[in-house]
Amino acid sequence: ADTIPVGHLAAYTGPTSGVGIPYGNGIDDALAYINKHGGVNGKQIKFDTVDYSYNAPRAIATYKKWMSSLKPVAIQGWGTADTEALVKFIARDKIAYISASYSGHLTDPTGKSPKTKSPAPYNFFYGPSYSDACRGLVQWAAEDWKAKGKSGKPKFIHMGDNHPYPNAPKAACAEYAKELGFEVLPSIVYSLKPADAKAQCLSLKESGADYAYLANTSSSNISLLKSCGTVGVKTQFLTNIWGWDENSIKATGDAGDGIVWVVGAAAWGDDVPGMKTLKEISKMSDPSGTKRRMLHYVRGVCATFYMKEAMVKAEAMGGITGENIKKGFEQMKDFVPPGLEGVCTPSTWTAEDHRGTTLVNVYTSKYNGGDFKMTKLATVEVPRRPEWLGW
Amino acid sequence: MSEPAVKVTEKPEEKEILLSVNNIEVVYDEVILVLRGISLDVPKGELVTLLGPNGAGKSTTLKAISGLLKTEDGEVTRGTITYKGENIANSSPDDIVRKGIFQVMEGRRIVEDMTVIENLRLGAFTRRDREINDDIEKVFHYFPRLKERTGLAGYLSGGEQQMLAIGRAIMARPEMILLDEPSMGLSPLLVKEVFGIIRNINKEQGITMLLVEQNANMALHSASYGYVMESGKIVLDGTAEELLSNEDMKEFYLGGGSGERKSFKNIKSYKRRKRWM
């Protein structure tokens, strides 16, 4: 065929749209950019973007629809529930699936890890898994504790709603924290829906935690930090990849200052070689080039470009099929898509290990009335332990 | 479908006709035809009564006039209803009340979760004068039992609720009252009193009334004119005296058609009798 069919499941509406929109826009723009610049070795990508409102059955329905008409070789997916639901289908239909759900157990393609319930051979994602990201933050916190010259056992606490997504890294991260010498406190639950969280902040204050990992998404973190601001909590907050972004910095104001979080790719305007390409990509939907793109957007772009490069490799292997795209991914080693140097983190996939990267970029932010600053504190390398595969 | 029944007598001409229903047809739920051409006139200041067996369409007629039909998926599909020369067939129920027609609905229909006094004040909803409290006293004067009931109206006995429903009409001080079976569930003593009150309101306050009643005797003794309807049609009409002396009326509505009243105990045949239709 002269075109490459690709499906894009986006969450432009529904509960996760706050981060779903920039991420999805990144994918849409990147695909349009690829097509405009010669496609994949001259072949155009024929993509269909469907907003499924974060509703798993609707995602399945869309998948079936695609299977009967579009017949995609790869899919850019989104949330936890739908990705998990599709794991078996895509494995059966041999379709490479790049998702935005960074659950640890999608990283084991063969099921050899004892912690894996079922293998996910066709699943890929770009960036550290939720568990690895949290481990990275804990590792940073351990060094921070030392650097500040404090003594005694630092106290670590996990905060988040009792939902699949916030809970995903909970156990893995707590174990590593213990290993690194933290005292792990019983976790505190706060709602994924933004609401006053002074009660939780008072509990947090009372618990005397030194480091708190916020596992919810950005909109609920805003209210938590604001509430904690009024209560006067001294804890150092850490949060994950979906937990903090440009918008939350602005919406939270001073109360968010000093939070430490994981960034999966370069930020808009960073001085890196690939920024030029990124700005060109952004012009696909913003011809004026004035829009400031969010962190999630950049990750969407990276996820798409890895897929593209996998397709290039697939073609070399005899044709762009889902199976070959998977193999294409698995040939990448410390790989950065050409043109996006410095934007996307070098990633490695193998046939046995789909942990694309274990490098965790740790950032902090500061708000100064109206504008804000994001500073990179460190890049932490989390060990790639075999027993952590799929966990 | 035949034409509406021919009037038996001409109505006295000199009276001003306040309400006039002309040949209306009413359909429920877009399919069920209930009234098949009803015409009746109510002269100003008079008390006109409408009689008929169960299911004849009496309540439907009243609801057509007061506009409440619309709230039951009913519709006037033909004919006009003129009140003071204005067609009100398409006005909303609250407009009609404000124009001066007040209906006392069948089956009491008081607001159960309000007290007696609140119900009475609701009756006076369209009034803005300062005599509302006086009127409440007046209602209590008519029905002393009500005054003792301080709880919610929903706990009143059936008869007490009926009193309250009538009291609400008194409170409204309308120009015209449509009464649907006001004596239902009242003790004999109270039936007499209620009819006394009705006459009183009619005569002394000059309020025009259209009365639907099963107690034909009482009704015709209070009314000046009467209509009898059956199966959605007017089958007989005439002045109260005429109707009181009509043989068929005596037989089916008044009791004691030919001489002595039959005892309820001795009526053997209860099969539907062929009537005017």
Binding site: - | R108, G159, K265, Y270
Partner: protein
């Protein structure tokens, strides 16, 4: 009336709601096979008395014995198994059901099928049972002459017809004691005559004992065997219709003392 043991015996029943004494120490007996009427002014406690018998209200004091069993403490739905059925003063039909289904509900306690057997209908005999009871219900429908509205939705019927459907539903219970609360309200003379006939037939041919509340003195006088009068929650008289009517207290409280010659007069409503 023969001297059989009373079917229903009410002893010293009192009922009050907050300050309102709806019933005060009321006692009476209803013998098997009689038509027993309760009359009295509005708010005298007649309906409350029926509610105590059928279980809607729990009296504060006293006992109610039916067929030798104490009713106090029994739930209303259990009383129906003992053989008590009733109609209501303010219509209480199932407004969105057809007339037929309304009456079939009356058979509830006689039917044996349940949600399991009912669901598989054809295999469990539920169908046969339903049809058998349906036939009996049709008899009642015929008897009360409501065949033409059998399939009508109850809520759309006129007032008088609904009263009749209520009676049919109560009859469908096949009670030994049927309690009728103003069965003739909202009916004209002819319809009252029909109703009176039905009640007499129920009593004589279907063998039901009837307790009836009614304001129409003509009916009460003509068809009831005994009458009890309540006023302000207290029993002020009980006895044969003629005796009761002659009681001056009754005449004063109920009929309005002055111009009453007899019950019929009151019904006809001659007003000076």
């Amino acid at each position: 009336m023969s001297e059989t043991a009373p079917l229903l015996e009410v002893r010293g029943v009192s009922l009050s709601f907050g300050g309102v004494h709806a019933l005060t120490d009321v006692s009476f007996q209803v013998r098997k096979g009689e038509i027993f009427s309760i009359i009295g002014p509005n708010g005298a406690g007649k309906t409350s008395m029926l509610n105590c018998i059928s279980g809607r209200y729990q009296p504060n004091q006293g006992s109610i014995v039916f067929k030798g069993k104490e009713l106090i403490g029994l739930r209303p739905n259990d009383r129906c198994n003992l053989g008590i059925g009733r109609t209501f003063q303010n219509l209480a039909l199932f407004n969105h059901m057809t007339v037929l289904d309304n009456i079939m509900v009356g058979r509830h306690h006689l039917l044996k099928n349940n949600f399991l057997t009912g669901s598989i209908y054809w295999l469990t005999g539920a169908r046969r049972e339903e049809l058998r009871h349906r036939a009996e219900v049709e008899d009642i429908i015929d008897f009360l002459e409501i065949a033409h509205i059998r399939k009508s939705v109850a809520g759309t019927l006129s007032y008088g017809l609904r009263k009749r459907v209520e009676l049919a539903r109560a009859v469908a219970l096949r009670p030994d004691l049927i309690l009728l609360d103003e069965p003739m309200a909202g009916m004209n003379l002819e319809e009252k005559e029909d109703m009176a006939r039905y009640i007499i037939d129920l009593n004589e041919e279907w063998g039901m004992t009837v307790v009836m509340i009614e304001h129409d003195m003509g009916v009460v006088m003509d068809i009831s065997h005994r009458v009890m009068v309540l006023d302000f929650g207290k029993k002020i008289a009980e006895g044969l219709p003629d005796e009761v009517m002659a009681d001056p207290r009754v005449r004063k409280a109920y009929l309005g003392e002055d111009d009453v010659e007899d019950g019929r007069e009151a019904r006809a409503g001659e007003v000076a």
